[in-house]
């Protein structure tokens, strides 16, 4: 065996090095030395991003266990950027007295899940994929339960781990069907033996259900709201953006590459799932008062939109999906940064608490408005472009009705995003949140997100660059 192969997995290797450094630093420092811990982690993660930003070429290692496309590397970079933004906004929370001692654990566990996602995305074998998935799920449960003395957080952790285990079980069951009918688990060899027999359709459905849990597609979404509400806000934002993006991309690659011969079956499956996911997610979001629950349902419907990039199975869909996730990272994390900082400063997470926010914190409300407009798909913000492209991709493949229903749903989503805008700008309040100054790392996170929200759409180079590496069925 050629051990030099390990160095071709540069994204994973540098991430492991990063995890080790953070872990050792956490073990051997105390007191004043830890003051630079947050900055160090962020800088190192930034370095990791810069080192691996080059898309590279298609690599197949270890006899096909590990395979990475240029697009996979782009996706890894996007997810690492998302993680960095989450770290930046988490500083407030990590400096609280009751979480201060858990700072190192937070970094290590989060980076471990990121590593798991990297493996999941570049797996070339179902078992490799499963290991990645588990590595991404189990530390996540610890993260969700990080505020373990809070009742909701512990409950959320339990709910998450139960659901993750259940979905893993389902998925393994599906994978065993694949092995039973095909006799191999290598992604490269499986498609040749797929003919759409009933057993294989069952395998597809179980596999899809397993990833559907991760993506919180309806009807596998029931854990989402409680987990999002209970988890610490930084973890919620990580869960809603990074974890979801990884699962969406993996689903796209596996459906087109491995389940390619069964395209008619999975398109039919997605057809129904997309319509109910978008519609139900939106309808449930209408009545939410708690902003974290609200974001949970909004992210369920966003997952439905992301799936529009998968259903066509064309290269345009892949580009649009990756671009959508990138824009979603910027917009959703901007919204969560605001929610997080307000929760830390005033303890308010209810929509009524935001009444009159513009009077006291105009800049924060303005940035929140930009983020919400981007999520709702309003130009000139990036969300408009990503939504348009993902609709165009599904439309090109002939799914007119789905696109139409998704478009009508954007109106519902606009209504509930505008509710927050209304609370901040229009509704008067007797006791608005007092004016406060955010710290540097929150500001940096917001600045990066806002730059993304504005530039990603207007500057076409990023989309065009992603499109160079896209592939379809």
């Amino acid at each position: 065996m050629n051990y030099l192969q390990f160095f071709d997995m540069s994204a994973e290797v540098s991430l492991i090095a990063l995890i080790l450094i953070v872990f050792l630093y956490d073990l051997f420092t105390e007191g004043k030395e830890r003051r630079g811990f947050h900055a160090l982690t962020c800088v190192l993660l930034g370095l990791h991003i810069v080192l691996n930003v080059c898309p590279g070429e298609e690599t197949v290692l270890f006899g096909g266990m590990y395979q990475s496309y240029a697009m996979t590397n782009i996706m890894k970079t996007i997810l690492a950027i998302g993680t960095l933004l989450v770290f930046l906004q988490a500083k407030n929370w990590l400096r609280r007295d009751d979480t201060r001692h858990k700072e190192g654990e937070f970094y290590v566990l989060t980076l471990c899940t990121l590593l798991g996602m990297n493996f999941m995305m570049s797996a070339g074998h179902f078992l490799m994929f499963f290991i990645g998935l588990e590595l991404a799920s189990i530390p996540m449960a610890c993260l969700v339960a990080m505020d373990k003395f809070k009742h909701e957080s512990a409950e959320a952790g339990a709910k998450y781990i139960m659901n993750a285990m259940f979905s893993s079980g389902l998925m393994l069951y599906g994978i065993s069907f694949v092995y039973g009918t095909v006799g191999t688990l290598y992604f490269a060899d499986v498609p040749a033996a797929f003919h759409g027999t009933p057993m294989q359709i069952l395998a597809l459905v179980f596999f899809f259900a397993g990833l559907g849990f991760k993506l919180s597609l309806v009807p596998f979404h029931l854990w989402t709201a409680d987990t999002y509400q209970g988890a610490p806000t930084a973890v919620t934002s990580y869960l809603s953006v990074v974890s979801k993006g990884a699962a969406a991309f993996t689903l796209l690659v596996i459906l087109t590459k491995v389940f390619g011969p069964m395209v008619e079956q999975w398109q039919a499956l997605l057809y129904a799932v997309i319509i109910i996911t978008i519609t139900l997610g939106n309808l449930m979001a209408l009545k939410q008062q708690n902003l974290k629950r609200f974001m949970a349902f909004s992210s369920i419907s966003q997952a439905g939109y992301i799936m529009l990039g998968v259903i066509g199975g064309n290269d345009l869909g892949m580009t649009s999906l990756v671009f959508y996730v990138l824009v979603y990272v910027a917009a959703n994390l901007a919204a969560f940064t605001v929610i997080n900082v307000i929760e830390q400063k005033s303890g308010k997470v209810d929509m009524d608490g935001y009444n009159g926010l513009y009077q006291t914190n105009p800049k924060l409300s303005f940035l929140m408005t930009l983020a919400l407009f981007s999520l709702a798909g309003i130009p000139p913000f990036a969300g408009f472009f990503s939504k348009f492209f993902i609709f165009a991709a599904a439309f090109k493949a002939g799914f007119y009705l789905v696109v139409f229903i998704a478009l009508l749903n954007t109106i519902i989503s606009l209504y509930y995003y505008l509710r927050i805008v209304k609370a901040m700008y229009i509704t008067p309040s007797d006791a608005p949140i007092a004016a406060f100054r955010s710290d540097c790392s929150t500001k940096l996170s917001l600045a990066l997100c806002t730059a993304g929200i504005i530039a990603l759409g207007l500057v076409s180079a990023i989309y065009d660059g992603i499109h160079l590496y896209a592939f379809g069925m």
């Binding site: 345009l316 580009t319 407009f373 309003i378 130009p379 000139p380 408009f384 472009f385 348009f388 492209f389 609709f391 165009a392 439309f395 090109k396 007119y400 696109v403 139409f404 478009l407 009508l408 954007t410 109106i411 606009l414 209504y415 505008l418 805008v421 209304k422 700008y425 229009i426 076409s460 989309y463 065009d464 499109h467």
Partner: protein, 503 residues
Amino acid sequence: MNILSLFVLIPLLMLLGLWLSRNLNQVRGVMVAGSSLLLLTAIYLTVDYLGIRHAEAAAGVTDAPEMLFTASYMWYAPLHICYSIGVDGISVAMLLLSAIIVFTGTFASWKLKPLTKEYFLWFTLLSLGVFGFFISTDLFTMFMFYEVALIPMYLLIGVWGSGRKEYAAMKLTLMLMGASAFLLIGILGIYYGSGAQTMNVLEIAKLHIPMDMQRIFFPLTFLGFGVLGALFPFHTWSPDGHASAPTAVSMLHAGVLMKLGGYGCFRVAMYLMPEAAQELGWIFLILTTISVVYGAFSAVVQTDLKYINAYSSVSHCGLVLFALLMMTYTSSTGAILQMLSHGLMTALFFALIGMIYGRTHTRDIRQMSGLMKIMPFLSVGYVIAGLANLGLPGLSGFVAEMTIFVGSFQNADTFHRVCTIIACTSIVITAVYILRVVGKILYGKCTDPHHMHLTDATWDERLAVICLIVAVAGMGLAPFWISDMINDSVTPIINNLISASNL
């Protein structure tokens, strides 16, 4: 640099200037400088455009380009999206109209409080969308600017409006965004249906979209733009929205934004899908006829000044779509003239209503009377706007409506003739509601003692009103140059429609 890009660049610079400005005077300075620059650019563009067209005509050029000042920059290559711009006579007229209304709107909201800076930021963003829409020839860019123009309305009405502002703002935003959902699917249908390698309207017009695609996507596109043009039964956002909006926003919205609807119906839906327009046009013709008559009748029974004008807008904008659907050269020219004329006079109306409301603090016509003696300047302005609205010769309304009804009657089909006759009744009804209001609030004896001490217009208000009156009268007295300019530009679109009917 292309002169048209100035229409996007200047508002962008204004946004930057507003963002940087620190006090009220700086905000006002930026707005006045920016909006006058826009107006000057629009006037220069009109003169230049006419000059080039005259030179072409004098030289006997037969294959003159449809659009002038065209430019195109690739934006999103995988979907063939370009930033393509270009203008013909219709867009030049619309740009001029928008510039006049933005200019006067700035003065009409001179004393607006609170949060003046934020107000003008959103107001400028709104006008950026409007200008961008009229210069674009690329479907995607056009749609993007269209949406840019919609969303500031929510905050402008919600924060600075009056009455049931939250309800009205939400209703307007959701209905118009809903329309844009129809529109988006229509655009995708046009793009993929034509198999074009471009999103440029002029290029797609040379291709043929299969008839079964047209049957689906023509109604969606027409409806998408039609909602913004207050097509019955989707006009309900308009009265509530206009009544609650602050003065300048009502002006810009009724004056310009509603014209986006008619312009889009003509330029995108009817131009690119002429066969379906011939086949399915009758459905929309019935709806627009209802708009025209129903809007006028509704205006008769209203008691709120803004509601009266909003329903009158429904009626007059219905007339725009009505004339477009008649599909003759004269009626289409009339439709564009009506867009201009209605834009100017409705802006004048809303400006005056805003000024009167700012003094009397009521818009209920039952509580006002004898204002002519108290505020003569505003009252005379109101009478002029009213006379323009009911089509007095010498003012803009007459030119537009005359052309529309003459053109419509040229369509010899019995069904079209019947619709024309029904729509003609709106002229009479318009006279009823205009004269009723004028008589009620301006003449007679002033009954409310509080109204006795009110003052007449200040300089900023006078400036806005005089500008608009000059424009209304100018268009009414010398319509020939503008109507020639429009007529030439309508020709290719109508040619497309007529050749489709002969298939």
